[in-house]
């Protein structure tokens, strides 16, 4: 047993009182010690070992530095606890499997590789993207920011990046992404010229657009009906024509129609409604499903709006209808209770102006960039991609590019992304998770179809070209579905090869195979 050490720890009685570890150790040609985390630690010399001890999460911690990184830890304490009646049987079985696996593993030297990089490409210029670019540049990273808009960046944005030391590539469109985490190569086209940008990590920071969807509301804009964006422009314009037109008007805001799950439009409606009352002396009504107050200062905003005189009417699942009567818009519905009064009469509210909500749709630039980066334009929900991490290793998504976020949340995104990226770039693991044997691969497409992460592609089917299935390192999670399904047995998971698996299985007693 030269390729690895076998050590069994007695845990000062916690294990050795229940299992005869001396007998087990001699059976497998290993060593039994009283306590590995004490003076016996010297038994380990930093090389690979099979260690039977307390639960691995404890043992790893206690033996950090003494045991080799690719050691196999075996839980003798908890794993065997329920085998008191026949002590040792379960331990023996576990040991046999671990030893078989370690032996198969030792036959192959895994190559661990770690590269560093300080190049980051930010695609898009949403607020979180600008922020993260500045933060990373401030931390000494070489940051390039790409926008599709031809010189379209407002001067204040450009100035922000300039002082931070970010180089900006405006009017460039993405062509393709190659390479893997830590060594991406992004090809972009600017003024008919192709450029290759190296990148250790990428940030997707394109925006979403707020758009009015007629299908949701059932009527056209115009004739006193404004979209949220349109009315906001009108209200905030300095125009001498608009202001008198708004004075003393009755304005209704119809929200939670296009989307019920956004803070954005309810908040915006409350802001605008308060303006209508306080600045223009008008009347304002907000019709909504739920007032969204989950955010810093939003509850106070809601209260202030009501105190200013805005009337918030909740829809509670009732149907509101909008009609035109004698040149006035009328919102009507059956409201059972209003201000604590039982109202038999239906609500019949004539309005001068009706403002309707919109919905967020990925901008063309976002959809295009997401396609090139191999992400979906709407980021899927996965708790493991908490915050700014995307489904692809080395690609991060911030701000509106990933979700409908308020200003506070967008700033959090920028900081979290900066932290994640800095940590990621300090050591990028570029080792492959699965290996494809090109000589065996029949390019049958089984793996391409089955890979849950879309990580496998076949580049060529030509008979002269012997290219095999290619696994994208930034998408592969090492799940092994491809390896188990490959009819030609051309794919194997490097961390747990077929040889290891079969060796382990073979040791599990008669008839297992």
């Amino acid at each position: 047993m030269d390729e690895f050490k076998l050590v069994l720890c007695g845990c000062r009685g916690a294990i050795s009182d229940r299992i005869d570890i001396n007998a087990l150790a001699s059976e497998f040609g290993g060593t039994a010690v009283e306590c590995l985390c004490g003076e016996d630690k010297g038994v380990l010399d930093g090389g690979p070992a099979v260690i039977g001890a307390c639960p691995p999460f404890l043992a790893r911690r206690l033996l950090a530095g003494s045991a080799g990184t690719d050691s196999v830890f075996l839980d003798l304490r908890e794993g065997c606890a329920f085998m008191y009646r026949e002590p040792g049987d379960k331990a023996r079985e576990l040991l046999a499997r671990a030893v078989a696996r370690a032996r198969a593993k030792a036959a192959r030297k895994p190559a661990s590789s770690c590269v560093t990089s300080d190049e980051v490409v930010v695609v898009g210029d949403n607020p979180a993207g600008l922020h993260v670019a500045g933060l990373l540049a401030g931390r000494g990273k070489k940051v390039t920011l790409i926008t599709e808009a031809e010189g379209g960046m407002p001067p204040e944005k450009a100035a922000l990046l300039d002082t931070a030391g970010v180089s900006v590539l405006a009017g460039a469109s993405l062509i393709r992404l190659e390479g893997g985490p830590g060594r991406f190569s992004l090809t972009v086209e600017k003024a008919g010229e192709k450029l290759d940008l190296p990148a250790g990590a990428l940030v997707l920071a394109e925006s979403q657009n707020s758009e009015y969807r007629q299908a949701d509301h059932g009527f056209e804009l115009g004739m006193g009906i404004y979209s949220m964006t349109g009315f906001s422009c009108l209200l905030n314009s300095e125009s001498t024509v608009c202001v008198p037109r708004l004075r003393g008007r009755r304005v209704g805001f119809m929200v939670d129609v296009s989307t019920e799950h956004s803070k954005r439009y309810v908040t915006q409606a409350l802001d605008l409604a308060k303006d209508v009352v306080t600045r223009f002396g008008g009347e304002a009504y907000v019709f909504c499903r739920d007032v969204k107050v989950a955010g810093k200062g939003l509850e106070a905003k809601y209260r202030q709006a009501r105190e200013a005189g805005v009337l918030v009417i909740k829809k509670e699942g009732r149907a509101f209808s909008v009609s035109t009567e004698e040149d006035a818009l009328v919102v009507s519905c059956h409201l059972p209770s209003l201000g604590g009064q039982w109202m038999e009469q239906p609500l019949h509210l004539p309005l001068d102006i009706l403002v309707v909500d919109e919905t967020l749709v990925p901008s063309k630039a976002l959809a295009g960039a997401a396609r090139v980066l191999g992400l979906s334009p709407v980021q899927p929900g996965n708790v493991r991609f908490s915050g700014v991490n995307s489904a692809r290793v080395g690609i991060f998504v911030v701000g509106e590019a990933r979700a409908d976020l308020d200003d506070y949340e967008q700033a959090l995104d920028a900081y979290q992304a900066a932290d994640e990226i800095e940590r990621f770039l300090s050591c990028v693991d570029t080792s492959d998770k699965v290996a494809v044997d090109a000589a065996l691969c029949a390019r049958c497409l089984t793996c391409v179809r089955l890979c849950p992460f879309g990580a496998i592609a076949i580049d060529s089917y030509s008979m002269s070209d012997k290219s095999a299935a290619r696994v994208d390192g930034s998408k592969c999670k090492g799940c092994g579905v491809c390896a188990s399904a490959c009819p030609a047995r051309a794919i194997s998971v490097i961390a747990y090869t077929d040889e290891e698996f079969l060796a382990e299985l073979a040791s599990s007693g008669e008839g297992a195979l």
Binding site: C11, R61, D290, V293, A294, A300, G381, A403, Y415
Partner: protein, 407 residues
């Protein structure tokens, strides 16, 4: 450049996330926590997956705690609090007061020999995600006359009295991550908490979910469950002019998770406004809508019913007072500032905002240079947000400390 040191006050999910970010940059980190182990409140929550993941973020906590265990360069001071902070960025002196400890966490391997020996059951395992994984001795339950059976049983000499002490640490920066207190439902007398069996807080429900995967009442699964939202939130008389941001999320997720266990359970939710904004949450809400009854309006009174708990509420569809009986009522208690936030603020020289959370001037920064806030001590937030916030706090602290050296 001399090695930098940062003190983190509070070892909940925010403090631990900040520690990971700092330690990975080669900074020496000290975490000071008042409890027996790190992990804070988040490690007491249960996974709320229904037929699929509902993204509650609870599993992120155990990931972070495990990461902490694998990392060197983090010193942990449990059962301790920071009693004074003097100095300025780059040269803080932090006074730490540590209570007496009965278990030496450096020696304990959580083997459980002492637990077997203790007839009074005064020794317990720390929760699965806690760090360090040492046993916890409850002094109040420890019988004085057993001649120290646990001490003899421990093969590692880990059970011994480590006396209370006060010591000072030098630090370049400080992260305040003291977390929150859930609203004390005993103050919600009219909602029956503590008076009527069958009324529990969401914190207790979380704990039950983590330990048993479901909610039980007298050993039986309740058939009719009501959730009451906004308990201690959005309440001007209580001085809470804010939304706690997490209660709608956990309540709806809990309904989906419980329903998966027992599909015949009837769920009712009393609410003001459902806060359904948030990535991936609309799916949870839509699923919940399909099988739970949503009642707009808060209960007027909760009292003992014939069999279960009687809830009196305003039925808005008829504008009349209605009654309904439930087996179990869960109060969705909100996030309040820590009860000792004012004291901690005075000790550290921080301002409190109008609600009593630590005032964040800009992001993460406080009135005192070199001191940043992280997590729910700054505002109510979810687990995922607390992690992001803590990463940001660590990031901005590092940038500030490095900028000081170069200038």
């Amino acid at each position: 450049m001399a090695k930098r040191t940062v003190i983190i006050i509070g070892g909940g999910i925010a403090g631990v996330s900040a520690a990971l970010s700092l330690a990975r940059r080669g900074i020496d980190v000290h975490i000071v926590d008042r409890a027996d182990y790190l992990g804070g409140r988040a490690i007491t929550y249960g996974c709320k997956a229904s037929s699929s993941c509902t993204m509650c973020g609870v599993c992120l906590v155990s990931d972070k705690m495990e990461e902490l265990g694998d990392l060197s360069g983090v010193a942990v001071h449990t059962r301790a609090s920071v009693t004074a902070l003097r100095g300025f960025p780059g040269d803080f002196t932090v006074e730490v007061t540590q209570r007496e400890r009965w278990v030496d966490p450096d020696k304990c391997t959580a083997c459980g020999q002492c637990m077997d020996s203790c007839t009074a059951g005064a020794i317990k395992r720390a929760p699965a995600s806690a760090y360090p994984q040492a046993v916890v001795m409850n002094e109040a339950e420890c019988p004085a006359d057993c001649a120290g059976k646990c001490r003899t049983a421990c093969a590692f000499g880990a059970i011994q009295l480590l006396p209370a002490r006060t010591f000072t640490l030098r630090a370049d920066g400080v992260v305040v991550a003291t977390g929150f207190s859930p609203f004390d439902a005993a103050n919600a007398w009219d909602l029956g908490y503590g008076r009527i069996p069958g009324v529990m807080t969401a914190m207790e429900a979380e704990e039950a979910l983590r330990q048993h995967g479901t909610l039980l009442l007298h050993g039986q699964a309740p058939r009719r469950i009501a959730f009451v939202q906004c308990v201690g939130s959005r309440n001007i008389p209580l001085g809470r002019n804010y939304c706690s941001e997490v209660c709608c999320k956990y309540a709806l997720r809990m309904i989906n998770a419980l329903r998966k266990e027992r599909p015949d359970t009837e769920f009712t939710l009393f609410y003001m406004d459902i806060q359904s904004a948030g990535k991936g949450f609309s799916k949870v809400y839509e699923e919940c809508k399909a099988h739970a009854r949503f009642v707009s309006g808060m209960p007027v009174e909760i009292k003992k019913g014939k069999q279960g708990v009687l809830v009196r509420y305003e039925d808005q569809s008829s504008a009349r007072v209605a009654h309904a009986e439930f087996d179990l009522v869960v109060l969705s208690t909100g996030i309040w500032p820590r009860e000792d936030a004012a004291l901690v603020g005075r000790r550290l020289g921080l301002n409190l905002d109008e609600h009593g959370f630590f005032d964040e001037t800009g992001h993460f920064a406080t009135r005192r240079p070199g001191v940043v806030v992280a997590g729910a001590c700054a505002k109510p937030m979810t687990i995922a947000d607390a992690i992001a916030h803590a990463q940001g706090a660590a990031m901005s602290l590092v940038s500030r400390l490095e900028a000081e050296v170069s200038s």
